[in-house]
């Protein structure tokens, strides 16, 4: 190839080689040819640079090749007559046939490359959303978004709920469904809580007193107050600016508190964020992940580790149920006591496993089973209770007829199923204190089952009462009473199937730890405690009064489902 003008075939060959290079499928020999062409011809260099400019423009701006926008582009210039493209294509068609190197003419060779093409992600890396997945690139997202603020008066969010919200700045109260716009002045929530859904599907809960500005559908300036954001995957890159920092979502749930002093706290509940803070001399760009919390000093912008608090922020509000959810799990002791799982269990409540009735006293008294599975009329969330005794075969453990091959027991129960918080104190009961890891449990919720007793919770009814949540797992610590030789068998069943079992629990020095995953299709959760195998038949016949089994902080863990 000489220094003069390139022939059509040379130009075509050049474009072929550039295309293969860009796509990452060029062979070493082909790349060498490309280099030779660039080295030998100024025109080749110009065509190469032009090719890259076109590629760069097309890939950086999807609107350039958006069919709708192209329809509107219409140009009256004679150089762009409607047949112009066809004329160009014809010109190209009529050009002398390009002789392709043998290597290139064999399709299989193009696939059989030495230089392995990297698998490109589905989302273009130059796409601004993908940039948010890379800590470095996130910076550009921030910069770009900050540089292109929306004009005022653009609708960007909807008020979806509020509780006791009092707005100032002339807004007064706002009804559900009110559309919010970008404004020239800040929104001031004097008190109460407000839940917004931004137009990019991000949900935020703002807790007053708070001052903030909606900059765009994916950006909020938080001047002071608390805000919790739940960001779906399609809204990655959502950003909260504070006076001393910037937090960019990378697919997460997180809370930000900005004090009027300028101090900012960030707690990441799920996923990860990027935190940018600091001045010229101490600028930082940190990735903060689930379970971590940081504080940015309002004085000098330094970033410190702080204790993570998963229940610090209001994450969901339900004004109809007057409920604020801060990330708490459902308390099974509260449910066993006939409450909704959020209400504190409070003082001692007993649930009789034969009658299904509640009582405020739980004292030892030998009573026999009625051999049946018994409903609990006063709770929507408890399917039933029973005294397990497998002496006559498998026993019913749910209202739908699931059964369990329970061992033969004495068929006697001595105490009601009990729910309470901390120490039973001076309440009417013979329940001994709970000793866990050498300490008496003073403040945690407790669900006590003494042999022989069983309780089944209706997970579907619980789900129905909390449509915005998923039940993720059942968690608890379990320990028998201290001293007096307890001998317990303990089971956790899901729809009659064993998910956990522990036999011969005799020693409070080896507590058990439960974290049992719950699937969406799991309907019933059953907890059973039976008397164990005693040394002698006589001991088996006598009702045992030391088989206390305590479940400490029994919970159903909840996850927020932003799609619901």
């Amino acid at each position: 190839m000489g220094v003069g003008r390139m022939s059509y075939s040379e130009q075509r060959k050049l474009y072929d080689l550039i295309t293969l290079s860009v796509e990452g499928t060029v062979t070493p020999e082909q790349f060498l040819t490309l280099k030779q062409m660039l080295r030998g011809s100024p025109e080749a260099v110009k065509l190469y640079v032009d090719y890259m400019a076109i590629l760069s423009d097309i890939r950086s701006s999807n609107s350039l090749i958006d069919k709708e926008s192209l329809k509107l582009s219409g140009m009256n210039d004679p150089a762009c007559d409607s047949n112009f493209w066809q004329a160009l294509a014809d010109e190209e068609k009529n050009a002398p046939e390009v002789e392709i190197d043998k290597e290139e003419s064999r399709p299989e060779l193009i696939q059989n490359v030495v230089y392995t093409a990297r698998q490109e992600p589905r989302i273009s890396k130059f796409n601004i959303l993908f940039f948010a997945l890379n800590a470095a690139a996130v910076l550009f997202l921030v910069l770009f978004l900050k540089f292109v603020p929306l004009e005022h008066g653009v609708e960007v969010a909807t008020l979806t709920d509020s509780m006791h919200a009092k707005w100032i700045n002339g807004i007064g109260s706002m009804a559900k469904g009110t559309r919010l716009t970008t404004r020239s002045d800040e929104l001031l929530l004097q008190e109460g809580l407000a839940e917004l859904r931004l137009d990019n599907n991000t949900k935020v809960v703002i807790e007053g007193p708070a001052g903030f500005e909606l900059l765009a559908e994916d950006r909020i300036d938080l001047h002071y107050g608390r805000i919790f954001a739940t960001v779906p995957s399609e809204a990655i890159g959502f950003t909260i600016n504070t006076p001393t920092s910037r937090i960019i979502d990378l697919g997460t749930e997180f809370g930000v508190q900005a004090d009027v002093s300028g101090d900012v706290q960030l707690h990441v509940i799920k996923g990860k964020t990027t935190l940018i803070a600091g001045g010229k001399s101490n600028k930082v760009n940190l990735e903060i992940t689930e379970g971590q919390a940081k504080k940015v000093s309002g004085v000098d912008g330094t970033v410190l580790d702080i204790e993570y608090n998963r229940t610090k922020f209001a994450r969901k509000i339900n004004s109809a149920a007057t409920r604020i959810w801060r990330g708490e799990n459902l308390d099974l002791a509260s449910i066993a006591a006939g409450h909704d799982g959020f209400q504190d269990v409070g003082s001692l409540i007993g649930l009789n496993p034969v009658t299904g009735k509640y009582t405020t006293s739980v004292v030892q008294k030998n009573r026999n089973t009625n051999g049946r599975y018994n409903p609990v009329a006063d709770s929507d969330f408890i399917d039933g209770v029973f005294v397990p005794d497998g002496g006559s075969g498998p026993i019913q453990v749910t209202s739908l007829g699931h059964t369990f091959a329970c061992p033969d027991t004495s068929g006697i129960y001595t105490h009601e199923i009990a729910a309470y918080r901390g120490s039973v104190g001076n309440q009417r009961t013979t329940i001994p204190p709970v000793i866990f890891e050498g300490q008496e449990v003073a403040n945690d919720a407790v669900l006590m089952l003494h042999s022989n007793a069983g309780i089944t919770f209706d997970l579907q009814m619980i789900r129905n009462s909390l449509p915005q949540f998923d039940l993720r797992s059942f968690k608890a610590a379990g320990v028998p009473m201290k001293e007096f030789n307890p001998d317990i068998y303990f089971w956790v069943l899901i729809d009659g199937q064993i998910r956990y079992e522990k036999k011969i629990i005799t020693d409070e020095r080896s507590p058990i730890s439960l974290d049992i995953e719950l699937r969406p299709q799991d309907r019933f959760l059953t907890l059973i405690v039976t008397d164990g195998l005693r040394a002698t038949e006589d001991e088996r016949k006598d009702p045992c009064s030391s088989d206390f089994f305590y479940l400490i902080k029994p919970e159903l863990s909840l996850t927020d489902n932003p799609d619901k």
């Binding site: 474009y15 072929d16 499928t25 790349f31 080295r39 640079v49 003419s105 273009s124």
Partner: protein, 172 residues
């Protein structure tokens, strides 16, 4: 204007030029994106070394050249450009960037004149980010045919842009 805002302003103004520069030095698109991101991170970290009022593009291009040199040391030798090619390409790229906006406008006009099938191919490759292999499967065409068609499209676009600029009385 804060340092943040100043950097923002400069970067946003020049980021397309800079990415084009990276792409001319590193023709593998995927690698070029990585290098651009890494270069931008360095630019941000070292922004305090940039003297206000001086040529930001020149300062940024130096950083990019540094990153590209590192890249050449790690990638297989047969896929790196020699210094003489880099010098030629850089010079032409710098000159070509002067009509940046006009060329982009011309490109848009030329794209509107594409045949539907060619536009579909471009969209499948660059908007939906399908690989050539996936497009081949969906369209029942060979990979080889698609590579040839893409390079033909670039040739046609380049020709169209050149003619458009000439019509506009601009240097093509």
């Amino acid at each position: 204007m804060s340092e943040n805002d100043e950097y923002l302003s400069l970067f946003i103004k020049h980021n397309q030029h800079l990415f084009h520069f990276v792409l001319t030095l590193v023709p593998n698109y995927s690698d070029a994106e990585d290098i651009f991101q890494e270069s931008a991170q360095i630019m941000w970290k070292k922004f305090d070394t940039y003297r206000k009022g001086t040529n930001f593009l020149a300062w940024a291009r130096k950083i990019i050249r540094f990153k590209v040199s590192n890249y050449y040391r790690t990638v297989k030798q047969q896929f790196s450009f020699d210094e003489d090619i880099i010098a030629k390409v850089s010079a032409v790229q710098h000159e070509a960037s002067k009509n940046f906006s006009e060329k982009k406008a011309a490109l848009k006009g030329c794209l509107s004149k594409m045949t539907p099938s060619d536009l579909d191919l471009i969209q499948m490759r660059y908007t939906r980010n399908l690989t050539i292999q996936e497009i081949a499967r969906q369209s029942n065409r060979s990979v080889f045919t698609l590579y040839r068609r893409i390079s033909t499209i670039y040739a046609l676009l380049q020709n169209c842009i050149r003619k458009t600029l000439i019509e506009w009385g601009l240097d093509a």
